[in-house]
Symmetry: C2
Subunit: 345 residues, 2 copies
DNA sequence: ATTTTTACCGGAAACGTATCCGGTATTCAA
DNA sequence: TTGAATACCGGATACGTTTCCGGTAAAAAT
């Protein structure tokens, strides 16, 4: 199945000139006359010439491709970020290869290696929950530009894009306090994730600022598996003195929490208020609508891609050692009915 | 920035053998002795050899890459399908490049051309709502294997993967009839989309089977823009004799419809029942939970990738002209409270 | 002991493109 | 009119790999 596509040599033969001249003409090189350039362009169109990206990549040692490795592209937060990444990528002439780790460390390592082998020009990664060894990132970071998204590893030297998790959590808890809640629980995420840690810290500091005692019983750590989200919620509600509010590490957890609360015939927000984190698009459609901390995932995706491509192209120009930036996006508290002051729809 | 990665020649030099032998050893060619093969493998590991996919692709005229073009990767139906595609792709050693058309015909054409230029080994496509010219698909279909997903164009000769839209719609309407509804409206999708057409037909036939008259006023065609979804719903509710049920072409439309219905202080399902199509993951979290037709999007994604890769690899073996199959996935009606027989949670 | 087979290996060409280097013809300055 | 500068082009090489072709040495068959 010879693919029979026309090459630069075909054009050369057609015009009785050399391949190198054709190449120069197609690349707007100045050392080619106007006349032959026009002839080449015309012939290229006529013969339906499509440059072979593989061959170009081989000599230029680049693929115009960036790899994106996310835990789960099904989650709105990630798919929306990917959408932003894709948008700037095509703007700048790059392709994006997506992979998902399914929150598995082993898949993550193997996919990073695959992408490395494929000679992607750069890599965007959001580590899996189970990842707590970062050699594979270190290694890839030496070869190709890397930018970390959302879940970041501090000691790895690269661009980073995150949202202000600490501030978001702090404000969410402050809001609950203002609603009159005094026994605020927090279903936290896995400890090795930067986002979990920062949100937890925001929660703690908000309580401290209000001179409230911290009760570790109120701060279960969730694996972020569906069943465990439910279990955490049940255990909170079964405490001798159950909480009057639950702030969850993300929206999916808030969803499950709400289901459990309803199943126990408790009323949201009267008996238990709920606040999530993400503002995934369904949050506003729930009943009661979910109060949550909004992250600009699409814009974050765009910024990530811009940083990455910027680094790729500056690297090509053999720039001085680039200094890495961490882009922090402000979050915004969206107050809806799951935490309101007992005014129903 | 010479990337300094070790090549096959480095290994050859290291072992004082020829590059061709190294290549053969790495590819388990039989014409190489056990001893040298071991030596090569060891040296490859020691020197951290990573085969250059570009070079391999150049000589083999393949990229091990498949392109996926979807209207909007943010929608759960698509992201879940992509997830399935990605899964079998890595299983079989392929990379997946994703692009989104944003429902724009022009973007679609330009992206198809980009992917073609990048020499992807195959292409999965779900056309945009605004696409009603299919030359670009015809052309690409001549060059590389193509499989159409969900929204398919009948007269283009390729594998196709769809769900049984007709049957799903038929059963949804039948269910509404059994609930006692008699004035069932249908918010339909754009007419050029195969899915819209089939679901509309299922709706019509179910009504006819029940000897109910068809009222075109009850069948608005929606562009699938959010505002238009709302407008269609409002117009239905404002009719002199408003419907007692609305069957929507997909879940996002059902969502908006429910919001509008609630805003009018009507009760679901007592005043108006609602049934959607997709079973996007949020459907069960709504209040009332949404009755909808479930499509196995993940499995559909898997099947699509399997068909495509199958075609790619059979093409390599210069098979006889392959005959194309259309894989139809059965849908399943998930009855929840938005259509129940007025028993509340 | 001679021929044939087998096992193994190296050299060279090829994939499609970019680019370095050198060369010719033209134009300009002196 | 001569020398140098300029404009343009072709040939060769390189990128990293696979694969065809031919060749040598050992093993097997005669």
């Amino acid at each position: 199945m010879k693919s029979e596509s026309t090459t630069i040599k075909d054009i050369a033969r057609f015009l009785n000139i050399s391949a190198s001249t054709v190449s120069r003409a197609l690349n707007n090189h100045h050392e080619v006359s106007y006349k032959t350039r026009q002839a080449v362009l015309e012939a290229a169109k006529k013969l339906d010439y499509q440059p072979n990206a593989l061959a170009i990549g081989l000599v230029k040692n680049q693929t115009n491709t960036i790899g994106v490795l996310m835990p789960d592209i099904t989650q709105p937060f990630y798919s929306s970020a990917i959408s932003g990444i894709e948008e700037v990528a095509v703007e700048k002439g790059y392709y994006v290869i997506i992979c998902q780790s399914d929150e598995s460390y082993h898949k993550e390592v193997s996919l990073v290696n695959m992408l490395n082998k494929h000679r992607v020009d750069g890599l965007i990664i959001c580590t899996a929950t189970t990842t707590d060894d970062y050699h594979h990132l270190q290694i890839v970071n030496l070869n190709i530009p890397l930018v970390q998204f959302d879940r970041v590893v501090k000691h790895i030297d690269s661009h980073k894009v995150v949202s202000n998790d600490y501030q978001g959590a702090y404000e969410a808890v402050k809001h609950l306090l203002e609603c009159g809640c005094r026994r605020i629980a927090h279903i936290a995420g896995p400890e090795q994730l930067s986002v979990s840690k920062n949100r937890r810290q925001g929660y703690l500091d908000a309580l401290r600022a209000a001179n409230l005692a911290i009760d570790e019983q109120y701060i279960p750590t969730c694996t972020l598996e569906k069943e465990h989200m439910q279990l955490c919620t049940e255990q909170l509600l079964d405490l001798p003195i159950p909480p009057d509010a639950i702030f969850t590490v993300n929206d999916p957890t808030a969803l499950e929490a709400m289901q459990v609360i309803k199943r126990k015939k408790l009323v949201i927000p009267d008996d238990v208020a709920v606040v999530g984190f993400d503002d995934q698009f369904l949050a506003s459609y729930l009943n009661p609508a979910l109060t949550t901390v909004s992250q600009p995932s699409f814009a974050m995706g765009r910024a990530t891609a811009e940083l990455l491509i910027g680094q790729i192209e500056s690297k090509r120009k053999e720039n001085e050692k680039s200094t890495f930036t961490t882009k922090v996006f402000d979050t915004q508290l969206i107050v809806r009915n799951s935490s309101g002051k007992r005014k129903d729809e």
